[in-house]
């Protein structure tokens, strides 16, 4: 049984030649009310892909993630999910359409237990969420051991796992991850990327922002380099890693 039963159909439809992309960001311009942070940003991915966004601090990577989730005002352009318009849709409705989101910061409920965090992730489910909770405990055994511990008292790595598990509780078709390996030790980073591949192999599209760019691009189908709110480079993960300009400017030589 897959983690995301809803995703499997999307996966199969995406394999066809004329498949609609799972996410399509179409010339999006917008920001936080003041001046625009994003200018004409474009991005497209299918349901079986891992797509990685890299770029310097303040490039607008988090802002782009938030714009998919209705947390940023989009002034121009469109965002479509499986062909359906979700531009400026309210966050709780975006969740309902099958998008999970792990913010860069403050991504757990610190004074609630691990189990309660997962339960909050399943808030919109009307059916029994316990099977999915068990799957999450299988995927992240660490969380199973600590299910009654307060999230606020967990280590950074454990918190990232919890945040990811929380976002998966609704069995989304698309998972947005904003720097899932930030602040983790190398061992934990490797584990996290393994987990992400595993989640993707279950048919969930992954759109993530990463600072550990080399490692992230290594598992990415497509990579997007964003700078000052604009697309700079777009290519497969492997090609971006081989591109000397990208390596020099964005991968630390």
């Amino acid at each position: 049984m897959s983690i995301a039963s809803a995703a499997s159909s999307a996966t199969s439809s995406a394999t066809g030649p004329a498949a609609t992309p799972l996410v399509e960001i179409d010339k999006v311009t917008g920001g936080y009310g003041g001046s625009d942070i994003l200018s004409d940003v474009e991005l497209s991915m299918t349901a079986d892909q891992i797509v990685v966004i890299i770029g310097p601090n303040g490039a607008g990577k988090s802002t782009l993630m938030k714009s998919v989730f209705g947390l940023v005002r989009i002034r121009q352009g469109h965002i479509r999910l499986d062909g359906e318009e979700i531009t400026n849709l309210r966050p709780d409705l975006v969740v309902q359409k099958g998008v999970g989101y792990v913010p860069q910061e403050r991504n757990v409920f610190p004074s609630m237990t691990v189990a309660e965090n997962l339960e909050m992730g399943a808030f919109l489910r009307r059916d029994d969420f316990r099977p999915q909770m068990r799957r999450m405990y299988d995927l992240f055994p660490r969380l199973a051991e600590r299910r009654d511990q307060l999230a606020g008292s967990m280590s950074g790595g454990e918190r990232q796992m919890l945040a990811m598990a929380r976002a998966l509780m609704l069995e989304p078709r698309l998972l947005l991850l904003d720097e899932p390996t930030a602040g983790l030790s190398p061992l934990f980073i490797d584990q996290t990327f393994e987990r992400i591949k595993e989640i993707n192999s279950l048919g969930i599209g992954i759109l993530m922002v990463e600072q550990n760019a080399r490692q992230a691009l290594a598992i990415a189908d497509m990579g997007y380099v964003l700078a000052t709110g604009r697309n700079r480079y777009t290519d497969t993960g492997a090609n971006l890693l081989d591109n000397p300009e990208v390596a020099e400017m964005f991968l630390g030589g």
């Binding site: 989730f69 947390l71 966050p91 709780d92 969740v95 309902q96 989101y101 913010p103 403050r106 991504n107 757990v108 409920f109 610190p110 004074s111 609630m112 309660e116 339960e119 909050m120 992730g121 808030f123 919109l124 307060l150 606020g152 929380r166 609704l170």
Partner: protein, 286 residues
């Protein structure tokens, strides 16, 4: 008066303040503003109970559920008609609005029930005597009912979906929203709870002393003192805060004029604010 006796009175007053302070804390935890009309919502509940008592001849405690329902309704009504329109505004604006709302409710009370003192006329209370201690039946009822309500609230917050959603919202509002927690429904439940618990505080205060249109404004200061002492936004802290303030207010009458009881609550509050503004009982929010 006997120290132990005063302590008992302090626990009774403390139970009442606790219920009020929990309401203040719940609202603060979710909406992040100090609700100055909380005392007057409590007074409204007390007067509703009075009407039930007068109409039915039942004891005040039996009228409690009606009072709690009515006050919950009033709190939701205020929120939907006024505070909801100010959601985007700063806490300062909401605070001033609630100050005005306090006066609106008080005027309504005065209009409907009149400006004079009234009591629940519970007949003559035959006190129990335990050793040198005098225990009025009402006092026992108040403390027992307050404990029951607090336990009920605890179960609600830790066992139910809605209760957990409330804690989640107070813990991390943005994450709650992106998890699909329906903010406006949680807000409504918060008002209902704060109103109902406030009404209980009001009814108990009426049983303990008397009903008066100013009663809500008079308890506002000790109620906030209790909430702040416990760490505003933390209902569990409010329990300890309420008891400390209640006991301190009653015990202080051994050394100072009882007229200055509110000053005692105030002094403790200012001390806490200056020394440890996050409240003395560190603990989780909600």
């Amino acid at each position: 008066m006997d120290v132990v006796q005063l302590f008992v009175y302090g626990i009774v007053l403390g139970s009442i303040l606790t219920l009020g302070a929990i309401g203040v804390s719940l609202i603060y935890g979710i909406l992040r503003f100090a609700h100055f009309a909380q005392g007057d919502v409590a007074a409204f509940g007390a007067y509703i109970a009075l009407s039930v008592v007068v109409a039915s001849g039942l004891p005040a405690l039996a009228a409690l559920p009606v009072a709690m329902l009515a006050a919950a309704g009033l709190a939701i009504l205020i929120d939907q008609t006024v505070y909801r329109r100010l959601r985007g505004a700063s806490p300062v604006i909401l605070l001033i609005s609630s100050f005005g709302m306090a006066l609106v409710i008080r005027s309504l009370i005065q209009l409907v029930w009149g400006p004079h003192n009234q009591t629940f006329a519970s007949g003559i209370q035959i006190p129990y005597r335990v050793g040198g201690l005098v225990l009025k039946p009402d006092h026992l009822l108040i403390v027992a009912a307050a404990v029951a309500l607090v336990v009920g609230l605890h179960l609600f917050l830790t066992r139910t979906r809605m209760g957990k959603a409330m804690r989640a919202m107070s813990d991390n509002m943005d994450l709650a929203l992106v998890s699909g927690v329906p903010a406006e429904r949680v807000v409504m439940v918060t008002w209902a709870l704060a109103g109902a618990l406030g009404a209980a505080a009001g009814v108990f205060l009426g049983m303990d002393t008397r009903l008066h249109p100013q009663m809500g404004w008079s308890v506002l200061l000790p109620v906030f003192a209790a909430a702040i002492l416990g760490g505003i936004g933390k209902p569990y802290g409010a329990i300890a805060g309420g008891l400390v303030i209640g006991v301190a207010m009653e015990m202080s009458t051994m050394v100072i004029d009882p007229a200055y009881k509110p000053a005692v609550a105030f002094a403790i509050m200012v001390l806490v604010l200056v020394v440890r503004p996050q409240g003395i009982f560190a603990g989780k929010v909600l």
